[in-house]
Structures are given as C-alpha cells and as structure tokens.
C-alpha cells in the first residue's frame, strides 16, 4: 500500500473510532484518535501478524499498554480481519467481549491491559523469551505519556536495557495531555528522551501522524544492536477533529449528535483532500 492509501485508511479508522464510540456512548476518544496513525503503520507495514498467524509462536507481538485507547485497536483489528467489524456494534454492551479495555477474549489481543504501567514489563518478558529461543520476532508496545508516571515502567526500562533487548520497541504516544490536563502540569516527564537514553535505550523522536516518518523509523528497528528501542511519537490528542484537538476534556468524552456530524464532516473533507 502507498503512503496515500495508508493516509486514507487512517481517516477511515478515525471515522470508525468515532462511529463506535458514539454507538456505545462510551470510549476514550482523544487518545484513540492520537494513536491511529501509529497502529495503522504497525498493522499495515511492520507487524508480521495476521488472523492466520496469530497462533504462530514466531509472530510479532503488539501489546497496547495504554489499554484505554482500545477503540483504535479494535477498529484496526477488525480492518485486518481478526473479527467482523459488525462485532463492534456490541462495544461496551452487557455480555459483549468488546469491553472498554483490551482482553484476550477478543481475537488479535495479546494481553489484557487497562491498568497503566503493565504493558512494558509484559513486553520485556516476551522479548527475553524470544532472545532465549533465538527467535527473530519483535515486540512492540504502545504507552501513553501520562502513563509514564507509573513507577513500574521505570523498573521495566532498567530490565530491558539490562537484557540488551533490541527486539523490543516502546512507542510513546506523546500527545502531551492526560485526563486532568497537560502532562507537564500533572507530573512533568521531561526531558523524556534524555531520561530514557540515560536508562540505556536508543531514543528516536518522530511525528506520530506522519505515515512516511513512522514507517521509516519502525522499519529501521533495531536502531542499534543490543539496545532497546524507544520511539517518541509526537501526536495530537483528538487528531483530525478541530474541536477535539489538544483539548484534554475529550479524553473520554462522547460527542453529541451535532458534534458527531461535524466530526464526520471534517473527516470526510480530509478524505476528499487526499483523494483529489
């Protein structure tokens, strides 16, 4: 697929994220919209995984540590054929497996997440296992920037460097916002890149909405032999919807009917721009 085809896909993903959040009347809107392009590039260009190979021990692993952005993951997994998209009609309904954070009951999900600060340690375990087996699959995990205040992450950063896990990539969805407001106001994590370098990681900054740039950096993994990889993906919370962008209040707000129609119109306009 060309870069433009992936850009179109991102817009369709965003339209679906909003569609199912609106239908469920629940969801983490801002953070799902910020990580769509990352998931798009991972699942359409990087990860060696498909519904047919999901049971293969040598598949690449994707663990979504920021589990609350599950709507983006569900929409991408449905597009990749892990389950029929119509399943998402049941999102957050009583009795549905499609609950508001990832669970292994949903085909394509590697690990139950939702409580923050868990995905990186799990990913370290998988990456150590790959090293022990001399297997060449890779492990990718997506963390939120607010999530980095969880101390468990820093235990995992230590361990990943200690075990030379160049098969592990942590992607930070650096949208600068969390539920209470600006990440820097809640608990300052900067200088993030310098901290992670000091913990023994190779760190790359990238525009987290630039399909080409994301592809280039993720295809270059491992960035350096014997060193774990961190990609700080600079993103915009609520990306693509003018009135949601950079507004922390959209962390888990559901658009009303008028807002929903406007959001879809804005995304349709973006589709038109790319198609022309």
């Amino acid at each position: 697929m060309t870069d433009d085809e992936l850009r179109l896909k991102s817009i369709y993903y965003r339209k679906n994220v909003l569609k199912y959040i609106k239908k469920a009347n629940a969801g983490h809107t801002g953070g799902s919209l910020s990580c769509v392009d990352i998931l798009n590039v991972l699942y359409n260009r990087i990860l060696n995984v498909s519904p047919e190979t999901f049971a293969d021990p040598k598949r690449d692993r994707y663990i979504q540590s920021k589990g609350h952005s599950v709507e983006a993951l569900y929409v991408v997994l449905a597009d990749k054929g892990f389950f029929p998209e119509s399943d998402l009609e049941t999102l957050c309904r009583y009795g549905s497996h499609y609950v508001g954070h990832p669970t292994r009951k949903v085909n394509g999900v590697e690990q139950n997440t939702g409580a923050l600060g868990h995905g990186l340690a799990f990913s370290v375990g998988v990456a150590i296992s790959a090293k022990k087996d001399n297997a060449d699959y890779k492990v990718y995990t997506l963390l939120g920037d607010g999530e980095l205040a969880e101390g468990s992450n820093w235990e995992s950063l230590l361990a990943a460097a200690h075990y030379d896990l160049d098969n592990l990539t942590a992607i930070i969805d650096r949208n600068n916002l969390q539920i209470t407001g600006k990440t820097e106001d809640v608990c300052d994590i900067e200088p993030l890149a310098a901290k992670c370098k000091a913990f023994g990681w190779r760190v790359e900054n990238v525009d987290g909405h630039d399909i080409t740039a994301l592809t280039d950096v993720l295809r270059a993994i491992p960035l350096e032999a014997g060193i774990p990889n961190m990609v700080i993906a600079n993103t915009t919370k609520g990306k693509g919807i003018s009135f949601m962008e950079n507004d922390y209040k959209w962390h888990h707000r559901v658009p009303d009917d008028k807002q929903y129609r406007q959001a879809q119109r804005e995304l349709d306009a973006l589709l038109g721009e790319i198609e022309s």
Partner: protein
C-alpha cells in the same frame, strides 16, 4: 531427629522447592525461575549454577518480576516467579490480578518465607495477608504445603496446571507428616489422622502443630481428625462438610490473619 510424636524431621520446604525446581529444569529447558534479587533467600544459588540460562534476575522489582513472568509464560515458558511472599503478594498484587490471573497467563507464583517466617525482622516482612488477597482474585489456585512431600508434589503439579498458581511456604525444617503411598492431588485435602470428636483443618506449616494438639487432646479423651488442607483455593468443600457432619467441633489453623484465610473459607462453606 525425631519429634516427641516420633515424626522424622525433614528439610525446609524451601529447600525441597529449590531441589524440585532444579530437577524439573534439568528435564525441560522451558522451565524458568524468575527472581527479584531473591535467589539466595529462595535457595536458588545451586539452580543458577547448574542451569544458568534458566534463571532470570530482574532486581529488587516485584512488579516487574510478575509482569515479566506473565510475558514469558505467554510464550509457552513454564515460569516460577520466586520472591518473599510479603512483597510478591502486596507490592505486585495488581500485576498478579491483571497480568497473570485476569489474562490467564499460567505463571507459578512462589511466595517464600511466608507467614511469619521472618519473625523478629518485623511486620514489613510478614505475609499474613496473602491468602486473603489472593482468595479474592479470580482464577488462581492457592497451595500451602505442609511438609516436604506436599511441597515437592505441589511444585511438580504446578508445572502441569495451565492456569495461575500461588504456592507459599516457610524456611524452617519440617517434620514428615505422610507415610509412603500417600496421594497428593491439588484441591483434595489429606486426612493425616482419624478421630470423631474434633476435626482440625490446618494448612501449611501449622498442620504439624494441629497434629501435636490432637495428641494432647487424645490424652484427655478426645479423638481428633487432622486434615492437611494444602489447597486453600479451590477449597475441598466436601472434606469440610464431612468434618462438620462427623465431629463435635471444627478448629481451623493457619499462619495467617483470621480475616480472609482458611478459617473464613471453611466458615463460608458451613454458614
């Protein structure tokens, strides 16, 4: 050395654990021990020397210990996460709940120096909460072996259980409580002594003390049944009901808070 009751003193359950794990690891390279700077207190120094590729050290970081163990287990490794019970089940409780139990990753959590084994070191190191908190977590088998035989059997059984398991024990040498031919089955208690007046339902290292108490009572004319309830969850409900039916009184014994442990589990069956 023999006790007053003629029981033979064995090894510490901790030692039996480490020997059994080494034996399993030698047979299968997928058996891993994961430690949080706990190989010394877990008697795993010989393990590390014999099968160095099968021990993973994460440093003093119990949350990481459990999270990494879950990741390893997800790839098919047979993972024993070894740490003092106090830290393992309190510091890393959320990892146990979510990464292991909710996600159904078959990690074998081994709580060493459990209960009040650390004695005078103080309450920071005691685990008199672990059975209570883990009983309240869905999808975990809890085993508290009483002697060397039960420990060896529990460690071996855990390797074959495709779901989360927690095993906890102390570090003092234990008397052998079982004769040859005794069968160990997870979830099925063992009657060590038969009697009709009183039944002791005990777990772990207190089973011995229950047995000693039963001998004292017998001298006073009370015959006692002594049950080793090595599996606290799922509880052998049938054994509790039979004991309640057959005996005048039930006494539960455990190295744990009276809140949420074996006693409350048995009381809930009879309520």
């Amino acid at each position: 050395m023999k006790s007053e009751a003629g029981l033979k003193l064995g090894k510490a359950n901790l030692e039996v654990f480490s020997e059994t794990l080494l034996s399993l690891a030698r047979q299968n390279k997928n058996v891993l021990a994961v430690t949080s700077d706990s190989r010394g207190s877990g008697k795993l120094v010989p393990f590390a020397a014999c099968v160095p590729e099968q021990i993973i050290e994460v440093g003093i970081a119990e949350q990481n210990l459990v999270g990494i163990s879950a990741g390893l287990a997800s790839t098919g490794k047979i993972v024993y996460a070894v740490s003092p019970a106090s830290f393992l089940t309190a510091r890393a409780l959320e990892q146990i709940k979510n990464d292991v139990c909710y996600s159904d990753q078959p990690v074998k959590l081994v709580g060493i120096s459990a209960g009040v084994s650390y004695g005078a070191l103080g309450s920071t190191h005691h685990s008199t909460h672990d059975l209570a908190v883990l009983r309240a977590v869905n999808n975990i088998t809890i085993i508290v072996p009483a002697d060397n035989f039960e420990t060896e059997e529990a460690i071996k059984a855990a390797a074959t259980i495709p779901h989360p398991v927690y095993i906890r024990f102390g570090k003092r040498p234990m008397y052998h409580l079982h004769g040859p031919g005794t069968e160990f089955q997870v979830g099925k208690s063992i009657v060590i002594r038969e009697g009709t007046d009183i039944t002791f339902i005990a777990t772990g290292e207190t089973v011995y003390h229950a047995l000693m108490a039963s001998r004292v009572l017998e001298e006073k004319g009370q015959t006692c049944r002594v049950i080793s309830m090595h599996t606290v969850k799922p509880l052998d409900v049938e054994a509790v009901l039979h004991a309640a039916h057959d005996s005048q009184a039930l006494i539960t014994v455990e190295e744990h808070s009276v809140s949420g442990g074996l006693g409350e589990a048995c009381a809930a069956v009879l309520a």
